[in-house]
Symmetry: D2
């Protein structure tokens, strides 16, 4: 099966997530990068394209031009990866969807609710699909966790605790830190920790539990002088079914690198998982000893096995989980009739949920933690 | 130095914490148990006394009688340990304080705020001292944590996260489970998880950070049908100095035994400690590698060393920490002029704080999480 | 039940293990310390006695005098704890056994094989018992491990790996380090790491597996210039039943405090235990997920429960395990007809094994690792 | 930079390591797979080629034919990956080296010493390079460990402990387990655990410490009835400089998946690393607290940073480490004058060391653990 042809918008020299998407796209051989608008600065765009071995004829400085030109080529791209700051996700995605080019977009879907609504409409009018890279859903043990909840192994879900702790914004970042610059500018990010990492935690909770959020109460705080966005967020979700979820997202928790953890307590059993030790899922049935279930082992569920590449004890990491989303997007594009429920595609619907979540958190927090009804 | 003579009220056959107090009192040789009212049931009281090698003449069925009789003896007890259900702490303590017998009382201090006020008055009128066994303050690495905060090693305290998770009340307990029976009866306990373990977490935060709670917002929930008290509590504290503390106490978190953890995030460094691995304190300075500081090692602070019995790598546990409180009480009784700030006595004042904390949490929760001002 | 009356030889000011024995003797209320020859220096002996609240009339500077005097008193000691350097264990034990006073002796039993033979004969001629404090056998999860092996849960024992790693002798110790001084003097210790900690590992393997050592090959090395004893030892044991055990004892393994670990690999399952996390036993059945069995939990075996004081999640440590040996010695003294197999008394026989082990290791090492037949 | 053209021998349907090589080759975009002899069975070879998107014209059933045909094509392969059972490595590598096609070969280099000598001669006569995939050297924290040893951070190296524990051969494998079949056939593997995983441990020790092995003593055992190769190996190495290394490789250690660990104890500090938690290096300086150094963090050494793709806390795993070897091979092929010492290429010389190691272990073991001089 020949790889799909991929373009990219954003991700030029000095960026972080663009490189991740490129490796993820390539890792399973499903995509070949052939075009890009890697920067809005033409010189930088072309230098980046050259670094990446992209033909000059397919290096663009303007994503609108790229969308049209690629759509017009007989060998034009099948899909585009969007890896820009958040406020550009919506307009760029719309431009490619308008050309029926599939979109693989970094999270959060958009910086504002208005952008999200526009994008949803654009997606409805396109023959192409929209994929959102909430990459933590690609980890095998997260797939197992989801399956165990769905199978009723935990009984009634009582309490969910999701934490996403970092410390890289514990101080005012250096001026030349591009990653920090746009993330702490509300006009570009749409929010601070709540948008950058809180949405990952929220998506993961929804993905694993399958529960809907009926209402939420949030407190967003900022601990660094002069910061215009939140750097520490606490959210309580009232879940369908009666359970509650507590999300804590922080970028000032000294000593934490990318410490995303999920714990689910049911009436019969609990699950615990940590992104920094992703090959392990801790399962404890009430009254029994905790069991350490590992990816690739005899104890791992087929739902985990379906996205496992190598044997137990050979750690898979972040890039492999990310690559699984690309592989599943490729499968959905190439053989849409064969997509099964195990293929856990994240799309417009989950993207809307994430943007609504950020919006509700911001409203709740500005009203002193008032409960906001979501549905 | 001859050991002090100790009496005990409660802690008869089938009890849990009474045995802990007896070992703690004996471990450093500071106390000798010589009298007791181990049960309000006379037969059981005397059987327990006999088991414990207490002379029949000093076995009582009524604590009031015991207080008077012991006060009248030339060889009467110096101190009494109170290890009954919570609602009896206050009246019993008052009876012994009235006889100028020192009191070492299990937590929480009382079941109600009214009782606490009465006890405070009784203590003010007694020549004897009142000690409250918030035993987790006895761990060496907790002493080190307190000292590091006091020394400014963490910078400004931004976020404190204290969790106390258990699972032993995940279901309706068996009828013959005495420990569960009184703890889930609000008349005897004064509260559920919030009183039983939430007060420990609250005390530990106060002890280590030295910060006061200005106001709090709490949500108390019960996850087991028919339960009359909370079994899961979430509290947010607004601390003096501007930081916030989040307390989570649960007795339905499947897979947790006695999982009390404390994390303190400052502007310059963080600390992490877990009761189930008590000989370790994790310290991370911003931008540096996490360091694993161990009790008894060259890296341990003198404040830890002062309550350390054996060398690094030889684990001390729960009973040793508890015994430290007994030893420090003995020192305060025998040589009150030599008590230093390192001797971290918990008394009436901290006991009042704990009862006010429970009361404020219950009021806040009944008002939908409203903020309650504490001072 | 009134406590037994205990004397002590050694353990004066500045000693380490004497204090441990005193706490262990007292912790469960089975022994009361009433006499001692805490030092061979009279002034120091009496100062130590005074510190410990021992009547001057029962403070001795000579252990021979103490044995006779105590035997002659109507309220004389029931047992004596020997906590001197190794080369004195034998003569002191003989003096008390000759008076039919029970002996509780620190390990190794003696410094030489000749002493061990003398002591065995003395014990055979005494009405008193000899107990050796291989204290790591007192840990509840070690009792569980022993029971699981005995029950056949592991299948055939193939490989045993026992490591005892420390780093406190990584350099030449300071002159005033008494602990280091006698341990690195072969005349006082009888050996270095092999005797001080290797014997613990060897005893633990024998205790848990119940297997005999048929032959062994050892290499003893010394890594610090000028050191007269080994500080790093490697021993391979050929076990009865066909399995092999590898022991590694080191006092120069930087970063290790008192890191004694035991792993047993059978044809059906494995066990792993670490002294610095003593409340946990890892059990993995072939093809299943590892299970974390904790002391006090529903998954713990009754053999562990029999020596457990407090509930799961409330860590017990080194002193509690040590106290269990004292409690079991007290039970054996007071109610010898009720001693069951669960009461894991370590006596002359195991002491002889340990001394033979050290002797064989030294011979093997001096012959380039030659295999030495033990039985 | 256009990717290099890669061929593959072995790695057809049902194989394990072939898929790993393909992902590793692709991950950084340095290689494009264009040809292969995926099986010696023509039908299976072509089915595999078709699965992998290889043109039928470049699918071969015979590696000799492939070497010649590819060498003759103007667009022929630049390099070939050899992923067959061990006994075929040598002949296949020679066939491609004879055509001046670069070889990237799985370990161990050959099954016998005779094959290794032949291959060394073939390499000497070729203009192409030979690369051996001891993939664990690709982990960033291993690079840091090597640099720290080289910088003298550990002082004199006293003790090295390298363990590689698995349990997948704890029983006689099922008949259809291809991986197990050839590995337990001495004619195909040249050895059991010692060759399959012992060589990895040996290579890792050499790589990180930079020390040579002067002599060794080995015991190879087999614990499963009817097995013709060793499944548990113990080797002691006398290192240049005076230190000793102990290697334990086992495939019957129940509860271990791919548990390769390395600990290095020097006179000044120690290092510990575990392959199943590869992003962490534990560093302890004598007398200081252990530090947890993480890949990508401010504490990581530039030598680690040079082979790091993504930030701290985003775990990299086995495939990334493997890909680093492919990337460094590509760099060595494309820009041989720019290869620096950081580029840790493993070639013929290290391959010879590994084969000599296996041979010496087998000889030593057959002589009862006799010491064999290596150089």
């Amino acid at each position: 099966m020949a790889p799909l042809k991929l373009g990219m918008v954003g991700g030029g020299q000095g960026a972080f997530i663009g490189g991740v998407h490129r490796i993820a796209a390539r890792l399973d051989g499903c995509f070949e990068l052939v075009a890009g608008a890697f920067s809005s600065d033409p010189a930088r765009a072309h230098a980046s394209a050259s670094d990446l071995g992209i033909a000059a004829s397919r290096s663009y400085a303007d994503y609108r031009e790229m969308a049209k030109a690629e759509a017009a080529r007989p060998d034009g791209i099948d899909a585009v990866a969007i890896v820009t700051p958040n406020h550009l996700h919506g307009p760029i995605a719309e431009a490619f969807l308008a050309q029926d080019i599939h979109v693989i977009c970094d999270k959060p879907m958009t910086a504002t609710l208005a952008q999200a609504n526009d994008l949803m409409e654009a997606a409805a009018n396109s023959r192409a699909s929209f994929f959102l890279t909430h990459n933590y859903t690609g980890y095998p043990m997260i797939r197992q966790a989801r399956q165990m909840v769905a199978d009723g192994d935990l009984g009634d879900i009582r309490i969910v605790q999701a934490e996403y702790l970092q410390d890289w914004l514990s101080e005012t970042p250096a001026d030349d830190n591009k990653q920090a610059a746009w993330r702490t500018d509300p006009a570009q990010s749409g929010g601070g920790a709540i948008g950058d990492i809180g949405t990952h935690a929220y998506n993961l909770v929804s993905f694993v539990t399958g529960l809907r959020t009926q209402s939420l109460s949030a407190t967003l705080q900022s601990h660094v002088a002069g910061r215009a966005v939140d750097d520490d967020a606490r959210v309580t979700l009232q879940l369908s079914g009666g359970g509650r979820c507590h999300i804590w997202a922080s970028q000032v928790a000294v000593g934490n690198e990318n410490n995303l953890t999920l714990a689910i307590y049911g009436s019969k059993a609990s699950l615990r998982w940590a992104q920094e030790e992703p090959n392990v899922l801790w399962v404890t049935r009430l009254g029994e000893a905790p069991r350490k279930i590992t990816r690739g082992s005899a104890s791992a569920h087929p739902a985990a096995g379906a996205v496992t590449r190598i044997p137990a004890g050979h750690p898979e990491g972040y890039l492999e989980a990310f690559a699984t989303l690309y592989r599943e997007a490729a499968e959905a594009i190439m053989t849409p009739d064969q997509v099964t429920s195990n293929n856990a595609l994240i799309g417009i619907s989950q993207g809307m949920d994430g943007v609504r979540f950020v919006d509700a958190c911001q409203r709740s927090s500005s009203e002193g933690g008032a409960w906001i009804t979501l549905e």
